[in-house]
Subunit: 208 residues, 2 copies
DNA sequence: ATGAAAAGTTTCAAGGTCTGCAGATTTACA
DNA sequence: TGTAAATCTGCAGACCTTGAAACTTTTCAT
C-alpha cells in the first residue's frame, strides 16, 4: 500500500517514461508509420523486446494515461452535485476530458500537446483511442446510472454516455476536417453537448 | 456504364465471394485470431498475395458491404419525407441499419448471421467496424444538414449523427455485455434513440 | 482466327509487429 | 554475502502486409 520507492520501481518508471518520450518525439519527427519499435527502443536505450513488456502494442505507448483519465471521469460522475442537472454534469465532464494533463507528475506539456496533435493526425492512433474509449463506456454508463438512479436505467445511461461521446467526437471530427482551429474544435464539442442535452425531437430553432 | 458481364468480371466476383465465404467460415470455426490469411487464401484456392488485391487487410474481408450500407444511409437521409420530424428519420435509419442484407445478390443468410455474430464477439472486428463507421459519419452529417437546412448547421448535424451512432452503439454494447438476447440488444438501440430524441436536459421520468 | 495489349495472378523477397522461451543480469532481502 | 525474485535481453518464429517481376488469362482490333 506504500509508495514502493525501491530502486526497481524507480527504474521502471524511468524506463517507461523514456519509452513514451522517445516514441512521441520520433512519431512527431518522422510520422507514426515510419517509426519502428526498434527505433523507439534504441532511443530509450532498452532492447526492442523490453518495449513489449511495458506496452502491449506500438499504439499503446501513447495511451498510458487513458485509463487514469477514465477513472477521473467515473469519479466526476460519482461525485456529482446533489441536485446537479444531467446536462451540467455532461458539460463538466467535457471540460474534464479536454483539459490538459494538469498533474505534472506525468509527461510535461510539450509532450502532451505533441500527443494531442498525433491523436488527431494519425488515423491509426485516432482509431485506437476511439476503441479504447468505446470499450470503457459501459463503466461510465454504470457510474452515471448510479448517480441518477431515479431518472436513468442502465440502458438510458448508456445512451446518454454514448450520445455524449459520439456527438462530441463526430462534431470534433467535422470541425477538424473543415479546417477549424483547435479552439473552434473544442467549441464544436460544446455545441454538440448542447444538442444532446436539448434533444432532437421538439426541435426549436437553433439558439444563436 | 453497362453491367460488365465479361468473363473477367464474373471471375472476379466469384473469387471475391469465395474469399469472403472462406473467411467467415474459418473465423466462425476457429476464431478470428487463429485463422491466417494464408488459410483463407488456400480455402478460396488463390494465392495469399491475391487476398490483398481484393482486401486491404485481414479485417476488411468482413466489411465488403460497409460502404454500400453507408450509401444507403445517406440516401435515406436525403430522401426524407417532406415534413418528417428528425426523430422519426432517426428511427427509420436505425431500422435500415439493423435490418439484414435483404438484397440477396450478396451473401446468403447463413453467412450474414455468422458475420453479425463475429462483429459482436471479436474485439478486433468490432473495433474495425466502429472505426469505419466513425470515419464515414461526416458524410452522413452533411447529408443530414442538407436535409434540414433550416434547423441544423453542420456542427449540429454532426452532433445529431454522432449522438445517434454513439448512443445506439454503447447501449447495444451494454445490453450485449449483460447477456441480453439479440432482440433485446436491438430494443436497447431503439430506446437509446428515444433518449437522444427526447434529450437529457428537461428530464422527465422515463416513459414506460 | 491471331497476335498484341490489358488485366489479373503468382512467386519471391523483405520489412514490420508481436509472442514464447531460455539464459543473463540486476535488485531485494535475510 | 549469498540466495530468491524480478527484470532485461537475445533469439527464433508466426503472422501481416507490400513491392517488383514473371507468368497466365482475357480482351479486342485486325
Amino acid at each position: 500500500m506504500s509508495a514502493d520507492v525501491g530502486l526497481r520501481e524507480r527504474k521502471k518508471v524511468r524506463t517507461r517514461r523514456a519509452l513514451v518520450e522517445a516514441a512521441i518525439r520520433l512519431f512527431d519527427e518522422k510520422g507514426y508509420e515510419r517509426t519502428t519499435v526498434d527505433e523507439i527502443a534504441a532511443a530509450a536505450e532498452v532492447s526492442p523486446r523490453t518495449f513489449f513488456t511495458y506496452f502491449g502494442s506500438k499504439e499503446d505507448v501513447l495511451f498510458l494515461q487513458a485509463e487514469d483519465r477514465l477513472d477521473q471521469l467515473v469519479e466526476a460522475v460519482a461525485g456529482r452535485g446533489p441536485c446537479e442537472p444531467l446536462g451540467e454534469l455532461l458539460l463538466r465532464l467535457y471540460d474534464l476530458l479536454v483539459q490538459g494533463v494538469d498533474d505534472d507528475d506525468e509527461l510535461d506539456i510539450a509532450l502532451s500537446t505533441a500527443r494531442a496533435r498525433l491523436l488527431l493526425s494519425e488515423p491509426a492512433l485516432r482509431a485506437r483511442g476511439m476503441t479504447l474509449m468505446f470499450n470503457q463506456q459501459p463503466r461510465v454508463a454504470e457510474a452515471l446510472q448510479r448517480a441518477y438512479p431515479d431518472q436513468l436505467d442502465l440502458i438510458s445511461a448508456a445512451a446518454v454516455v454514448g450520445g455524449f461521446w459520439g456527438a462530441t467526437g463526430v462534431a470534433g471530427l467535422v470541425a477538424q476536417q473543415r479546417g477549424d482551429s483547435p479552439e473552434e474544435i473544442l467549441a464544436a464539442g460544446r455545441r454538440a453537448i448542447e444538442v444532446i442535452v436539448r434533444g432532437v425531437g421538439p426541435w426549436a430553432s437553433p439558439r444563436d
